[in-house]
């Protein structure tokens, strides 16, 4: 899916929920209402997405909600904002992960994305009865199986015709019959094709070209066809100070910093990483400034994450349209 540089209309903004950042004593960590309030604040500010990190990739002794269950809870308490959920390929079965992701896309009405994590940690290898030593090749295969499973039900497989009694068109439900090095998965998935067709795939570094990613979280621009997001911790303050991801300044200075990096083509957007209070300051003071400059949306143009990111909805690999494309 190539992104035309010329038509990029808007800067994109995500917010990384700091749910597993704090020590175990912090009661906010298990306060879903507070997290929903933050999600709604980000949605009111027209952010593209929330990022749900996965403590399974953290080396430190972090804890918090399991990300898919939390994202689902947030999904039904919001209506527009995207939900980017991190999940490791290392500690999952592709069939289970395909279900979780597809299901979240249905529950949210097409707002889910999967942030593919290739990481493994000794601590969690020990929690998942895993031997060390799989490779990036396993992750490649894992992602390809998940993406294949998403397509096993064609968009119009369900007829649900009460009058004739035809519930599905069996010809539009497909086996995947994947037989690879690491996985054998027959399919079909037991979830209908996700509203977005394929969920948006993101990854943290420009690691593999094989995952069909459309978003990359990185400090320097990734491959040209990827939407590039850099981390940013903006702190509204009186004096302008730059310190890595942390940028201090007044609202105009912060907007300048963001606009510069965006218009220069360095990035397509930012993942804001800050505490709840700083997020509120950012949405109250900096977002209106970005909107006034015409580089950030004042209304969502659509309802799905693909809409927000300007990404087209892919046809299914088993659909008759896809066959036409092949011949």
């Amino acid at each position: 899916m190539s992104i035309s540089r010329a038509r990029k209309p808007f800067l994109h903004l995500g917010y990384a929920l700091p749910v597993s950042e704090s020590p175990s004593a912090d009661p906010l960590q298990y306060d879903p209402d507070r997290i929903v309030a933050v999600a709604r604040a980000a949605e009111a500010a027209k952010f593209d997405f929330l990022l749900f990190d996965d403590a399974l990739t953290a080396a430190a002794d972090e804890n918090g909600f399991e990300p898919f269950t939390l994202a689902s809870f947030v999904a039904v308490n919001s209506s527009k904002i995207g939900l980017v959920v991190a999940a490791t390929a290392a500690y999952n079965e592709p069939f289970n992960l395909a279900r979780l992701t597809a299901s979240l896309d249905h529950i949210s009405g097409g707002r889910a994305a999967w942030n593919v994590l290739p990481d493994r940690h000794e601590r969690f290898d020990a929690s998942f009865s895993r031997d060390a030593g799989d490779s990036l090749q396993r992750v490649d295969e894992f992602v390809s199986v998940v993406r294949g499973l998403w397509d096993t039900w064609e968009d119009d497989a369900f007829l649900r015709d009460q009058a004739s009694g035809v519930f599905v068109d069996g010809a539009k439900i497909h086996r995947l019959d994947h037989d690879g090095v690491f996985f054998r998965v027959r399919g079909p998935l037991n979830v209908a094709r996700p509203p977005q067709g394929q969920l948006v795939i993101a990854h943290r570094a420009d690691a593999s070209a094989n995952w069909g990613a459309e978003v990359v979280f990185t400090e320097a621009r990734g491959r040209d066809e990827l939407l590039t997001f850099a981390n940013l911790t903006p702190i509204v303050d009186t004096a302008r100070v730059l310190d890595g991801e942390v940028v201090r300044g007044d609202p105009v200075q912060l907007a300048d910093h963001i606009q510069e990096r965006f218009t220069s083509g360095e990035v397509d957007g930012f993942t804001i990483r800050s505490g709840f209070e700083q997020l509120t300051e950012f949405t109250r003071l900096v977002v209106p400034e970005l909107q006034a400059r015409g580089i950030f949306r004042t209304e969502y143009a659509g309802t799905t994450l693909r809409d927000h990111l300007g990404l087209a909805r892919p046809a299914g690999r088993f659909s008759s349209d896809a066959e036409k494309q092949l011949t």
């Binding site: 597993s20 175990s24 960590q29 298990y30 879903p32 403590a55 399974l56 002794d61 972090e62 804890n63 918090g64 909600f65 399991e66 898919f68 269950t69 939390l70 994202a71 689902s72 809870f73 999904a75 039904v76 308490n77 500690y91 999952n92 079965e93 069939f95 289970n96 279900r99 979780l100 597809a102 299901s103 979240l104 249905h106 529950i107 601590r123 969690f124 020990a126 929690s127 998942f128 009865s129 039900w153 369900f158 649900r160 009460q162 009694g165 519930f167 599905v168 069996g170 439900i173 690491f182 996985f183 054998r184 998965v185 027959r186 399919g187 079909p188 998935l189 037991n190 979830v191 209908a192």
Partner: protein, 451 residues
């Protein structure tokens, strides 16, 4: 939290388009309900307002287009953990039962997701531990074959011990442990704080010896598939007896048979709904009598809906008859044991008989196929339904029921509007929740942590 009076417990077996194969065609049903989370939340609130103990999210790990005829509601659905979170967000008291099969999961993942839902719901999560009868699931998980019963239960037993340990492993401070067993090497603690219920509720279902044993030892609720009162009583006393051997008091373990209920203000209206649902399911072509009678179980398998299947079952060749013609009374002298069971079932669900004005037809016999292999099925007015529920509850066959609605929302609201008030009038069922957690509804205390 101990109460002197025994209390009935009710759950809703939730398949979004109903448990009857034609439930989705019933007027007023919502054929796309499986993916409409707003509708699913609304149905959960309906049973929460009726003070049900729980909503039960069933699952299966393989699908096949052949299910369209037998169990269309089971072809596909939302994944249960994500669905449960979304339901929790819209409700405040009702327990939410998530089906997860250890054979195809990691203990750490199940412990983590279940603990997370318990936090999100304020202590209302439950795990329905199944080991899965669907052999086809193996092909979705890089396995060459589905394990046999012993292997699945050995694995599940250790799996559960690891999950229980993980749930206890992070309270005020993390407790490190290193489980090394036959199947799993798992280091704790969990990366989720100890769930509000301490240990989320455990459900189990099954009839095999291994299953009864696991349920008696570990489960808080057993969901059973007893087709009639006698079978239910045998099961009830067997499992409660086993629980006693494990040092558990009989009241710690609730046994809830599945129960299909079609009810309406009058018996005649209930029968009309039942007939209407069955009329939606087409009959199969007639065939030779030879061949095995499928009693169901495997994906998409069920007896063919024709008089050949009836003939095989009852031991009398009734092929060639008009399905709508009345069955002669003389058949009662010719049929085998299964035939008598079938006739009794047809009488009980249609209120028709072999004599009199309202006669049993051949089609009624076809509609009754499969009886004796699954759960009990009731058709009747609210008093008739409540009478059966009370009879089972008072006579050692059930602590409550897992209600199967043939069609949704109709069969759900009929039960909550008509039968629940009748049960409450009789003092059998709560009129208010006594607490906020699923443990509270079951009268179970929060267990102490093992650390």
């Amino acid at each position: 939290m101990t109460s002197s009076k025994r209390e009935l417990h009710l759950g809703l077996m939730f398949w979004a388009t109903g448990t009857h194969p034609a439930g989705w065609r019933h007027p007023g049903s919502k054929p796309d309900a499986a993916y409409d989370i707003g509708f699913i939340q609304k149905m959960t609130r309906v049973v929460e307002e009726a003070k049900f103990d729980f909503l039960f999210l069933g699952d299966r790990l393989a699908t096949d287009p052949a299910l369209a005829k037998t169990n269309p509601a089971q072809m596909s659905r939302l994944e249960p953990f994500t669905a449960a979170s979304a339901i929790a967000a819209a409700t405040s008291h009702i327990g939410i039962v998530i089906t997860a099969n250890p054979t195809y999961h990691d203990p750490y993942s199940v412990a983590r997701a279940m603990a997370s839902v318990d936090h999100l719901s304020g202590g209302r999560a439950a795990w329905n531990l199944v080991t899965g009868a669907d052999g086809a699931a193996a092909h979705n998980f890089s396995r060459s074959r589905h394990w046999d019963t012993d292997e699945r239960y050995d694995w599940a037993g250790e799996f559960l011990q690891v999950v229980r340990k993980l749930w206890d492993s992070r309270d005020a401070e993390p407790h490190r442990f290193d489980h090394r067993g036959r199947y799993f090497s798992v280091a704790g603690p969990l990366d989720v704080a100890r769930p509000p219920q301490g240990q989320p509720i455990l459900l189990h279902a099954g009839t095999s010896d291994r299953s009864r044993d696991l349920g008696a030892r570990e489960a808080d609720v057993i969901f059973s598939g007893s087709p009639d009162f006698e079978a239910a009583r045998e099961y009830y006393s067997d499992v409660k007896g086993r629980a006693a051997k494990y040092g558990r008091s009989p009241n710690e373990l609730k046994i809830l048979p599945g129960l299909s209920v079609i009810t309406a203000p009058t018996t005649a209206e209930a029968v009309r709904i039942f007939d209407g649902l069955n009329d939606f399911v087409p009959l199969d072509e007639e065939e030779e009598i030879s061949g095995e009678l499928h009693k169901g179980g495997a994906l998409g398998q069920r007896p063919k809906r024709n008089l050949a299947s009836v003939s095989r079952l009852i031991g009398v060749d009734v092929r060639g008859n008009d399905p709508l013609a009345p069955v002669p009374a003389s058949i009662a002298d010719q049929v085998n044991e299964d035939g008598h069971v079938l006739l009794e079932h047809v009488r009980a669900t249609t209120y028709r008989d072999l004599a009199g004005a309202d006669r049993i037809t051949y089609k009624d016999l076809i509609n009754g196929l499969g009886v004796g292999t699954g759960r009990a099925s009731l058709v009747g007015d609210p008093v008739q339904v409540a009478d059966v529920i009370q009879h089972w509850f008072d006579n050692g066959a059930a602590d409550g029921f897992n209600i199967f609605p043939g069609h949704v929302p109709g069969a759900v609201t009929a039960f909550t509007d008509l039968v629940v008030p009748e049960l409450q009038r009789r003092g059998l069922f709560r009129t208010e929740y006594a607490g906020r957690t699923f443990r509270d509804h079951l009268g179970l205390d929060k267990p102490k942590s093992r650390f």
